[in-house]
């Protein structure tokens, strides 16, 4: 559990995605691991610089889809064969081709909700409070036009003075301390 008081990290602000990616790569090279980039749109190069490649969202989506198809098909079979059998123009009770259609729809329904809610859950959202919002320049830029790199204090390599010197060698607009 990270400490809830004191410094959360150091936040460097950049004007371009290129500068952010360079700084992130350098920080990773220097041995920093607990860090995060904040950008106004997805910057894939930043994710590469963070060495963050794999997400579990597709797996969650697949599991959801399989659950959807199984649930719908078994439900239809149970309902039309056992729970409430009806003779409709002599068609077989187990009319599996007809059952495919609702099962198909529920595959998409479950998979879609799993992908969306899975993404939100894996991201730890909703999280209305986060320390980076305390930085005075964060909210003006992170969702508009600025690019941020935050080196977090929980990183064993983090020390306020040295990390600040490290970040200031890049063309950052500012480097600010972020409090919890």
């Amino acid at each position: 559990m990270p400490p809830r008081e004191g410094v959360y990290g150091l936040l460097a602000e950049f004007n371009t995605p290129g500068e952010l990616v360079q700084a992130t790569e350098a920080a990773h090279h220097a041995g920093y691991r607990r860090m995060e980039c904040y950008t106004p749109y997805p910057v894939e190069e930043a994710a590469e610089a963070l060495h963050f490649h794999k997400t579990r969202v597709p797996m969650v989506c697949l599991i959801g889809g399989l659950m959807g198809v199984t649930t719908a098909f078994l439900m239809e079979t149970w309902i039309n064969v056992w729970a409430y059998p009806l003779n409709i123009a002599g068609r077989p009770l187990f009319s599996w081709p007809a059952f495919i259609i609702p099962a198909y729809e529920w595959t998409i329904l479950f998979a879609g909700f799993s992908a969306a809610l899975g993404m939100i859950a894996l991201n730890g959202l909703p999280q209305l409070y986060h320390p980076v919002f305390n930085a005075p320049n964060f909210r003006n830029g992170a969702t508009t036009d600025k690019f941020f790199l935050c080196l977090e204090a929980v990183d064993p390599k983090f020390s306020l003075g040295e990390t600040r010197t490290f970040l200031e060698q890049f063309p950052a607009v500012s480097v600010v301390e972020v409090d919890h």
């Binding site: 609702p102 729809e105 993404m119 969702t143």
Partner: protein, 480 residues
């Protein structure tokens, strides 16, 4: 060449990036801040344009038609409509199919064009998705009020009940419940997921405490973290991949409502593809109907450019041609099947008492659009496209009218022939849903970001990641 319109001359065309020679999707001169301010400004302004209030009032006033019409319907029953035997499906089903078809272009734009990496869609996908949702709201109203006892409409869903009664899954009407409810749910979640980063932007740019709170809650605390973005992009792609088969299946299932019935004019295998193409056709027409006034009213010509309109007109040309092929095939099969009933149905459709509807359909859906859309000059003529979009949507409504009514009112047995005549309540509820749609759309453009800001940012030249050197300096100057 200059006489051919602003998009013709490749040398003076401001949309072509002189450095790369690529065709820009949005007008040059924008940066991250300017697009954000432009789009967020519409939502966060304290000076709501008077025209907005006017439009909302008109939409809301017309929407009262639904309220009044449905109130009387619930008091009196479906007898106030023109439905009767043999024309048991009237306006309610026509309007249902028409509205849901309109919705399909929204999903197509947001999902299929995303998968095909058609970046031009980024400017129009948000309001196309909004259009989908509001169209599904209007569409969903009709089957619910058509069931006769709308307070028991939940019987359509499989749920354990004391009557021990369950739905019957061999019926296309049960498939419909699953298809349309899935479509509505997935469209809403896709729309909302797409807006989360923009809600973050609005939260951070809002000055009013209520707006900060409202958008802050909706943004779920989005902070643009890269790890979040990667998962977000993954989820967006997955949702797009799921919506693509979904949108194709929804109108397929709706066409099964007809095709599974053993009625001449309905019982054909061409229905699914031809319904889907028709849906996309009418949907793109509706996107044009909405986009053209909005870009003018909110001065969005930089973001929704002539190229967007041109591309949409091309999609209409393609899907309209598929629809025309469908009509041709119907006529051909009526002859080729050598079925007496099919042949009579087609003859009656064209030359019977309601033949006028068929010829309106041919004129508005085929003759006017499919001859004129080949011309690039007309495809970039905003006024013409707007009028054409209204014509096509009229045509698509008549298509549903022709399919529903002319197949039903003269079936196999001449002794059971009747006719169909819509009543004022039919018209009131139909026009009312147009008001409801307008009303919801006006609320949307005022309170939600109608163009996805994060996706527009990705289309700017500044997004190019450069690693040092002179190039980085020019980019950083542009950004500042």
């Amino acid at each position: 060449m200059a006489t051919k319109g602003p998009m013709q001359d490749p040398i003076v065309d401001p949309m072509i990036d002189p450095r790369t020679g690529e065709y820009a999707v949005i007008a040059p001169g924008h940066n991250f801040k300017s697009v954000t301010q432009k789009i967020a400004g519409i939502v966060l302004t304290s000076n709501t344009p008077l025209g907005w209030f006017f439009g909302l009032m008109v939409g809301g006033g017309v929407a009262l038609g639904v309220v009044i019409g449905c109130t009387w319907l619930f008091l009196k029953g479906v007898g106030i409509w023109g439905v009767t035997i043999p024309g048991a499906w009237g306006f309610a089903i026509i309007n249902f199919v028409w509205w849901i078809g309109i919705g399909h272009a929204g999903t197509l734009i947001s999902a299929i064009l995303l998968l095909f990496k058609q970046t031009w869609r980024n400017s129009i996908n948000r309001f196309a998705e909004a259009m989908t949702i509001f169209a599904v709201v209007c569409a969903g109203t009709f089957p619910l009020i058509h069931v006769g006892r709308p307070w028991l409409a939940y019987w359509l869903f499989p749920y354990p009940n004391t009557m021990n009664v369950w739905p019957q899954f061999r019926s296309p009407l049960a498939w419909d419940v699953f298809a349309v409810s899935t479509y509505a749910s997935i469209s809403i979640i896709f729309w909302y997921i797409g807006m989360i980063p923009d809600f973050g932007t609005l939260r951070d740019r809002a000055t009013m405490p209520a707006a900060k709170y409202f958008y802050g809650m909706l943004s779920l605390g989005w902070r643009g973290s890269t790890r979040h973005w990667i998962r977000y992009e993954s989820a967006s792609l997955l949702l797009a991949g799921l919506s693509t088969p979904l949108v194709l299946s929804v109108h397929t299932v709706i066409s099964f409502d007809f095709a599974v019935a053993a009625l001449a004019g309905w019982h054909t295998t061409i229905f699914p593809p031809y319904f889907v193409a028709g849906a996309v056709y009418s949907g793109f027409a509706m996107v044009l109907t909405l986009a053209i006034p909005i870009r003018k009213f909110y001065h969005m010509e930089d973001l929704v450019t002539l190229r967007h309109l041109d591309n949409m007109a091309k999609v209409m040309l393609a899907t309209g041609s598929i629809v025309a092929y469908g009509y041709g095939m119907e006529v051909f099969m009526a002859w080729y099947s050598a079925s007496h009933w099919e042949f009579f149905m087609m003859w009656n459709r064209m030359f019977g008492p309601m033949g006028w509807a068929y010829w309106i359909l041919i004129l508005t859906n085929i003759a006017i659009p499919l001859t004129s859309l080949w011309s690039r000059k007309l495809r970039v003529n905003v006024t013409y496209l707007f009028i054409l979009s209204l014509i096509v949507n009229t045509g698509m409504w008549f298509e549903r009218f022709v399919i529903v009514v002319t197949s039903l009112y003269r079936d196999y047995l001449p002794s059971s022939w009747g006719t169909y005549r819509a009543t004022k309540w039919d018209y009131m509820i139909y026009v009312g849903t147009m008001g409801l749609f307008t009303f919801l759309f006006f609320l949307f453009v005022r309170f939600l970001p109608m163009i996805p800001m994060s996706e527009i940012r990705m289309m700017l030249p500044q997004t190019k990641v450069t690693r040092g050197g002179a190039d980085a300096e020019t980019v950083s100057k542009e950004t500042v």
